[in-house]
């Protein structure tokens, strides 16, 4: 086969969903192994390693993000039914949720207010540009909700989504360590905290390393935080005079 026809084959394949799908799965598989080799360090979280590997792959092959996403959207789409499926672990632990309903609501409100005001306060103090600031505000909310909120208050939706992911990885890296420092042992408290501060990343992290009870509460926190933030955040942004 000549070099020219190889080139044509690549042009054909790189625009095909097959390449992005295969690359995503292989990157994730490699990332899980890298994570295990590094002793499951949260700084080498499989999602972060997989994202880094894929960005390197795309930059190296010259495939742009839009082309990649055309294929990878089939994986991305499953986030929808997976979010719906969070109702199952919630239902399994319904008794505990019912018993803790009021504490959960109070904790959720204090968490959201802490997250939004410390984010806006620090970023203002350090002098972030306004579009970055407004995209940063909804950072602890799951990405589809965060994108909607960012748009509503004048941020950049896709930048907001990127910052949400960064928050998720920071939360997964810091969370277990802070929880140990505060001597928190109750899996429902751990899960709820991780879901509130680190949305889907925190939830996935809980399912993977803290058990189904923590996962269920993380999912609950993620949903609750998303809904409440959508209502509270525009008010806090006004309070900061933005």
């Amino acid at each position: 086969m000549s070099l020219a026809s190889l080139d044509q084959l690549w042009v054909y394949l790189s625009g095909n969903p097959l390449v992005s799908l295969l690359a995503t799965l292989i990157a994730f598989y490699l990332a899980t192994h890298v994570n295990r080799l590094l002793g499951r360090s949260p700084f080498a979280h499989p999602v972060l390693v997989a994202i880094a590997l894929l960005i390197a792959f795309l930059l190296f092959t010259g495939i742009d993000y839009a082309t990649y996403f055309e294929g990878a959207q089939f994986i991305h789409f499953l986030l929808g039914p997976a979010t719906v499926a969070l109702a199952i672990p919630l239902f399994d632990h319904r008794e505990r949720v019912r018993r803790l309903l009021l504490p959960l609501l109070i904790a959720c409100l204090s968490g959201i207010i802490t997250a939004v005001s410390s984010t806006l306060g620090l970023a203002l103090l350090l002098g972030a540009q306004k579009p970055v600031l407004l995209s940063l505000a909804p950072r602890s909310v799951t990405s589809p909700i965060a994108m909607g909120i960012a748009e509503q208050i004048g941020g950049i939706p896709s930048l907001a989504a990127a910052l949400v992911l960064l928050t998720g990885s920071v939360g997964c890296a810091l969370g277990p360590w802070i929880l140990r420092l505060l001597r928190i042992e109750d899996p429902s408290v751990k899960g709820f905290t991780m879901g509130l501060a680190a949305h889907g990343f925190g939830t996935a992290h809980c399912f993977a390393s803290m058990g189904a009870m923590a996962g269920a509460f993380a999912g609950l926190a993620m949903g609750l935080t998303g809904m409440l933030t959508a209502f509270i955040l525009p008010l806090i942004v006004q309070l900061f005079g933005l």
């Binding site: 997976a82 969070l86 109702a87 960064l166 998303g226």
Partner: protein, 120 residues
């Protein structure tokens, strides 16, 4: 067939969720509303059908993988992020740590008071 049944229930709930969000024009994503719909359905039914559990728990086991495609999108914003990288890093780390500490402390003390009252 159970996997197909389970997947249909999940997608069906998501569909109803999307319809409700649009009909009521609430600022919540369709899948989150779909989760509420499924939860109400399970409460009425009283148990989780095996087919649904198979599909749902299968998806939740690989939840981390599902975030990867959106995460790669960060490469589009390297410019904006690069210009404010230190501001972003400090804000993200400090504010996330604060959020985790406050939430965990509040919930832990409230939950302990409540369960302590019941068990004592």
């Amino acid at each position: 067939m159970p996997l197909i049944m389970g997947m249909s229930v999940l997608l069906g709930c998501q569909f109803i969720g999307e319809l409700l969000v649009r009909a009521l024009s609430v600022p919540v994503p369709g899948p989150v509303m779909g989760m509420v719909v499924l939860l109400i359905g399970l409460m009425i039914r009283g148990r989780v059908p095996d087919a649904l559990r198979l599909a749902g728990e299968g998806l939740l086991r690989y939840l981390t993988l599902l975030f990867v495609p959106a995460g790669v999108g960060i490469m589009v914003h390297f410019g904006l992020i690069g210009a404010d990288i230190w501001v972003l890093l400090v804000t993200l780390v400090v504010s996330t740590a604060l959020t985790i500490a406050v939430t965990a402390k509040v919930l832990d003390s409230l939950a302990r008071r409540r369960s302590g009252g019941e068990e004592a």
